[in-house]
Subunit: 167 residues, 2 copies
């Protein structure tokens, strides 16, 4: 496999994975492109490489910056803006985990909390609703805490965690 083929394969796989994870294709592809680039890229270069429009590139770069995954870099003597992504995979996964916790898990926990604390009228169905949503609430909260603790360990958190779990 040659460079170009490998690059395309990586970018498109990452792109379709993105869809599956709640971020759109273009966004994931831009991140992938920056991730394997040897230097900061301009919007022009990105749209050309991925064959996507200016508007699309602009919007998705913004989203990536909102996530904290991509940053603007100023290159001395250059008028245009350059973009880079976090290159360290562990740091990258920490940022993603944190964001997903904040954006997706936390709101669900809130709803589960509300639903599981409705007035118990002692009917079968109310009891079941309370019981099941309570269980889900506890589980979700535990997992969220776990993720956040793990992720706060910074350096080598994944390796460390694995060691702890299986020694």
């Amino acid at each position: 496999m040659e460079y170009q083929e490998a690059k395309d394969k990586f970018i498109s796989t990452w792109g379709s994975l993105g869809t599956l994870w709640g971020i759109n294709k273009a966004m994931a592809q831009i991140q992938a492109l920056l991730f394997i680039s040897t230097k900061p890229l301009t919007m022009e270069e990105i749209m050309e490489d991925l064959k996507i429009s200016r508007g699309n590139t602009s919007m998705n770069l913004r989203q990536l910056m909102d996530w904290g995954i991509v940053t603007k870099t100023l290159v001395p003597g250059e008028r245009k803006e350059f973009f880079t992504t976090e290159k360290d995979v562990q740091e990258l996964s920490r940022i993603i985990a944190k964001e997903r916790s904040r954006r997706e898990i936390k709101p669900v926990i809130k709803v589960l909390e509300e639903v599981s604390s409705i007035k118990n009228d002692n009917s079968e169905k109310t009891k079941e609703l309370i019981k099941q949503t309570k269980a889900l609430h506890e589980l979700t909260e535990t997992m969220d805490v776990m993720i956040n603790k793990l992720v706060d360990q910074k350096r080598n958190w994944i390796t460390k965690s694995v060691l702890k779990l299986f020694k």
Copy 2:
């Protein structure tokens, strides 16, 4: 909040969460409905409660069965098929984690492996591609192993894991 309101809220939240996790709304809603139901439900009851068509119900029930989350139950003396979902949240999360590993993570690992083992021609960009996809490959594999090990611990795996991590 009354029963009906709580139920609707739970089902619709679960539904939109589903979208975010790569399963569709109807599928997630059917699972949610079964999850808080006090008894097995027929297709008829499901379509009526969620206001979705017969075809949609049928297809999504099938998918849920493929995931191993929902099972057909035969109720003695009844011609129709009844459906139930796994009611234990820990077991449910184990099934989901396993399936996601198999369906999503494993294929990505494979691609990363391929891409990261292209011939190194010693150009900057090839070196960068190899380096970055290798890092991603290692990370993904470690996480996948971690998830699978965790999940194989069966009983109370989540609580146990948390204890191990923070003692």
